[in-house]
């Protein structure tokens, strides 16, 4: 993958060769890789490489690619721009008022990067050249199963302990919800009762009087019977069999049988 991109005039064959070269750029792993390959053409120790020459070489290469209207990936162009900047820095006398790294600093770092990349490639090759397990040396072909003997150890946290204790000590505060059927008067029962009685009462009657006997003493039973009777009275009104009236808030609710028109 050597390249001498200083051709100016292109014959057809040159052009084809050059294109092949540029297509090959895809084979490079980025601008640094390309630079490293170009640096090798200088045929000197990487430590003594001329960065200026390398920059010229790279820029020439990019220039040629442009002439051939070959699109280079963005990072190749970024590197070109940076090398052009570096080249100008290296050629111009240093401006003492300017801040930041000098052209020499930048060039030295690039040289360091190239040398380091080369070094990594060298050791990678040495690494892969070593004897390898399963290729040059081998592990036991028939490993013996190590039998697992399980021993169970029980544990608990302080939190478990406290929650456990809390659970016991507060058990009496909670009781599963069970409906106390003997203290509940259902709406069905109330309906049945009212239906049986309402026939006799043509006049307005307090619905309290429909409450079953013996449900007045216990407040829980009284509440349940009242609610059921009220709900049953509404049901009867809905059915058109009764009328309700109340003279004011918290006044007694009065009910009477509703005469049907056709009756």
């Amino acid at each position: 993958m050597s390249d001498t991109p200083d051709l100016v005039e292109f014959s057809v064959t040159d052009r084809l060769a050059a294109e092949a070269l540029v297509v090959d750029v895809d084979g490079f792993e980025g601008p640094l890789d390309l630079l490293l390959n170009m640096a090798r053409t200088q045929k000197v120790d990487l430590r003594k490489i001329s960065i200026l020459q390398l920059a010229r070489q790279y820029l020439g290469f990019v220039e040629k690619a442009k002439t051939l209207r070959i699109e280079l990936a963005a990072d190749y162009l970024v590197m070109a721009a940076w090398l052009a900047f570096l080249k100008s820095r290296l050629l111009l006398p240093p401006d003492p008022t300017e801040e930041g790294p000098s052209g020499e600093d930048l060039a030295a770092h690039l040289a360091f990067q190239l040398e380091r990349l080369q070094a990594m490639r060298d050791v990678a090759a040495r690494l892969m050249g070593r004897d390898q397990l399963g290729r040059d040396f081998f592990a036991r072909g028939l490993p013996e199963q190590v039998e697992q003997v399980r021993q169970v150890k029980y544990t608990a946290t302080l939190l478990d302990l406290m929650q456990g204790y809390a659970r016991i000590r507060t058990r009496d505060e909670f009781r599963p919800f069970v409906l106390d059927r003997d203290r509940v008067f259902t709406m069905e029962q109330a309906l049945e009762r009212i239906r049986g009685l309402i026939g006799f009462a043509g006049a307005w009657t307090d619905i309290q009087s429909y409450l079953p006997d013996g449900w007045f003493e216990d407040p829980v039973r009284w509440r349940s019977a009242t609610a059921a009777t009220f709900a049953a009275s509404l049901e009867l009104v809905k059915e058109g069999k009764a009328e309700l009236k109340q003279s004011g808030t918290f006044e007694p609710i009065m009910m009477r049988r509703k005469e049907r028109r056709d009756d």
Partner: protein, 227 residues
């Protein structure tokens, strides 16, 4: 290295580079050793000879190798008409690995432990009264075995029942200086540790068919504590 007079000249002629001279027997022994080690199945003498350089005598090398492993931690053993390297039978116990599996203590055990910790010294009957179910022997045994509880003094009441107290091991495990450091109910409630849902354990009657009760309390107690 073998000291047979035949082996010496072979050595001189750099046997491993030669296609026609067999390597010295010590080298052959190394080869057999490596092949038997790496092979997933026992290897026959024929196979060994096929794999080793021309002129080798695997059978002879095996004799030396067997002797070399005599009394070692592994042995060269014959398996049918093939050979393999195996662990010495007396070291089979090394092929076990003990693993300790940690499991959560059962709810019954946690509750029993909690009652002992909060009420110590406490008798079994008292634990049952507080938990509302009888305490199985297994639960108490487990806690005793874990050395989280131990027997305390006998209570000076009729029947002189034994009591349970928590151990230093218990305090160490739960990072407590003493059992008095256990947070009180009010603390638990403040910390939101009290469950807000009703306990599925129903009526607080000891000894009536609870999951934890394999036996009646009286029975269990007498069995455990009679002496």
């Amino acid at each position: 290295m073998t000291e047979t007079p035949e082996a010496a000249p072979v050595e001189d002629r750099a046997p491993r580079d030669s296609l026609f001279e067999a390597p010295p027997i010590a080298e052959q022994e190394r080869m057999v050793e490596a092949i038997l080690f790496a092979s997933a199945v026992p290897v026959t003498v024929k196979e060994l000879n096929d794999r080793m350089p021309h002129g080798c005598d695997a059978a002879e090398a095996l004799v030396y190798l067997r002797k070399r492993y005599d009394g070692r931690g592994v042995q060269v053993v014959r398996v049918g008409d093939a050979w393999a390297i195996r662990t010495a039978p007396d070291l089979g116990f090394l092929m076990q690995r003990e693993t300790v599996e940690t499991r959560k203590l059962s709810r019954a055990a946690v509750e029993t432990l909690a009652i002992i910790a909060y009420h110590q010294p406490v008798t079994r009957a008292e634990i049952e009264e507080i938990r509302g179910v009888s305490v199985s022997r297994g639960t108490v045994d487990q806690l005793l075995e874990m050395e989280w509880i131990r027997f305390g003094r006998r209570r000076m009441t009729p029947g002189r029942p034994v009591t349970f107290v928590v151990t230093q091991g218990f305090l160490d495990h739960f990072g407590l200086e003493s059992a008095r450091d256990l947070p009180g109910l009010a603390d638990l409630r403040a910390a939101g540790l009290l469950e807000s849902r009703p306990s599925p354990l129903g009526v607080p009657q000891a000894g009536e068919g609870d999951v934890d009760a394999e036996e009646g309390p009286e029975e269990g107690q007498s069995e455990l504590f009679e002496d």
